[in-house]
């Protein structure tokens, strides 16, 4: 059981000509293994800054991040160990894989660095991980990223994230670059792995429908502040904050649309 506590975190960026911009303002929440939290909000709401703070790519200006009650290590071997516990899946599977390296290399490297399996078992583990993300390991292992489709690449990115056997996963818009017909497949895969491994997942998205579908809780961010945090159904079906309502109204919803356009006569 691993849990990460974000406590009263502020992140202020100095912008030339614009003074200080508060990307995050007093953000607090807890992500524990075994749960999925959806984080929603429009572009610029601070969602990705939260991901950067969690992975220690950015340090909070104020407030703190605790892992199992202790401050997140800021350097050295302890930071590397922390980053093996908490892994990221990025939005763009074209940019997040190295075009010069084979798929094998992408999975092998985090295995070798983390030492989760002995050296002689690395090849077998690469195949196991690729099979886990429903790729034909034999067919893709020697290929390079450009030879795979977007959906396949994102599966490779997920396998790479899982390699050091993390407890927590931050997925920042993991399917928004994929064709709609592939999105549910990749999200269902993430959801299955989450359940099997008891992972804690932070699912960052602006798509309310998938956030509701795949999350236990939803956090709504607006201009760097958490405006609502509750169970997924609660937040989407009975939003309390005007901003959440605004997001909901803006999201396509054929169910509501056709009910409204029939004037409730149906």
């Amino acid at each position: 059981m691993t849990s990460i506590d974000v406590r009263g975190v502020w992140k202020t960026y100095r912008v030339r000509g614009a003074g200080a911009v508060d990307a995050l303002q007093d953000v607090s929440f807890t992500l524990s293994s075994g749960q999925t939290i959806g984080m929603v909000g429009q572009s610029g709401s601070g969602k990705s800054t939260v991901a950067k703070i969690l992975t220690q790519m950015e340090r909070p200006t104020r407030g703190q991040v605790l892992v199992d009650g202790r401050p997140v290590p800021s350097r050295g071997a302890a930071l590397r160990a922390y980053r093996q516990q908490l892994r990221m899946v990025f939005q763009d599977p074209f940019a997040s894989l190295n075009p010069y390296h084979s798929i094998r290399h992408h999975i092998e490297r985090p295995l070798a660095l983390s030492g989760v399996v002995p050296r002689e078992q690395i090849e077998a583990e690469v195949h196991r991980l690729l099979a886990r993300v429903q790729l034909d390991a034999g067919a893709v292992v020697d290929r390079r990223p450009h030879e795979l489709s977007g959906g396949q690449r994102q599966r490779v990115a997920i396998a790479r994230a899982l390699a050091p056997r993390p407890a927590l996963l931050v997925a920042d818009e993991p399917v928004s670059m994929l064709d709609v017909s592939l999105r549910m497949g990749v999200l269902s895969l993430l959801s299955d792995i989450q359940a099997q491994d008891g992972l804690g997942v932070l699912y960052i998205t602006h798509d309310l429908a998938t956030a509701r579908y795949f999350s236990d809780e939803i956090i709504v961010l607006n201009q760097g502040r958490i405006v609502e945090h509750g169970s997924a159904d609660e937040v989407i079906l009975r939003p309390r904050h005007p901003y959440t309502r605004e997001l909901r109204e803006a999201s396509p919803d054929p169910e509501r649309f056709f009910a409204d356009s029939a004037g409730g006569a149906r």
Partner: protein
């Protein structure tokens, strides 16, 4: 609704590559005056090839082995688009049918002001127009899409994603076309900006009365904005019907598959967690 604007009959497009690909196969459909026709299907189903093909915007190795495309102009004349010579085709495009492309950032020129890019349309299509008339027309367009004439001197990178998409719409409306083809115009935008752009399109349609072919893989969105929807798969239209019929009474299995591949925002969840 029975007033046809564009009639496509048995239209096909083949990519003559080493292994030829039939990207569009025997498609027949009619776009009516004043309607929004949605074109849905997954990546690679041929929806963009179809939309580009009927305007003859495809380059070799694409060839059009068969079919007919007839334009029924507001002035009562009919034009066979597949028979137009290059000059007539150039005069036709953008004047009668314009496009809003996917990804405003890559469709706009990063080193020219948006005003200059809008003025280009008039320079090419209305060469008799004076410079001052062009400037006035550009200003008016920017006002119409609510970007404001003052933004004429801005470069694309100085504008938000939503504003850039408005510029693309302004460019498409410059010559008051009768049909605007929109290829994933809101896919890269977040939900609030997407809704804002959709409202804008509705408002402009009410003001100017153009028809829209709206291409996207986002079926929930299409269901809300379209009068009719054509579902494409592997180069063919498998079903075309009113949005309500597609939603309530889909006839084709593939339509049902597509509909079920979207999680519902407010309905009961289909999977238990």
């Amino acid at each position: 609704m029975s007033d046809p604007l564009l009639s496509v009959r048995d239209f096909s497009v083949r990519y003559e590559t080493a292994a030829p690909v039939d990207a569009v196969r025997d498609v027949s459909l009619t776009v009516h005056r004043g309607e929004v026709l949605g074109l849905a299907g997954e990546s690679g189903c041929g929806k963009t090839t179809l939309a580009y093909g009927v305007q003859r915007l495809l380059k070799p190795p694409a060839v059009i082995p068969g079919g007919s495309v007839t334009w029924h102009d507001a002035d009562g004349s009919d034009t066979d688009l597949l028979a137009l010579d290059p000059d007539a085709l150039r005069a036709f495009r953008w004047d009668k049918v314009s496009m809003v492309f996917q990804g405003a950032m890559s469709a706009l020129n990063p080193v020219a002001t948006v005003g200059a890019q809008l003025a280009d349309v008039f320079e090419v299509h209305r060469p008799a127009m004076s410079r001052s008339a062009r400037t006035a027309a550009v200003g008016e367009l920017l006002e119409i899409v609510k970007v404001g004439a003052a933004r004429s001197r801005s470069y694309p990178h100085e504008l938000s994603g939503g504003m850039r998409q408005r510029i693309m719409i302004a460019m498409a409306l410059a010559l008051r076309p009768q049909l605007v083809v929109m290829d994933e115009p809101t896919t890269a935008l977040d939900v609030l900006v997407q809704r804002e752009i959709l409202r804008e399109i509705t408002r402009l349609r009410e003001a100017f009365g153009f028809s829209v072919v709206f291409i996207t893989h986002d079926l929930p969105l299409l269901l809300e904005i379209s009068d009719r929807i054509a579902i494409m798969r592997a180069g063919r239209i498998v079903e075309i019907d009113t949005a309500a019929n597609i939603w309530f009474r889909p006839r084709h299995d593939y339509t049902r598959t597509l509909l079920s591949s979207f999680p519902r925002l407010t309905a009961e969840r289909k999977v238990a967690r």
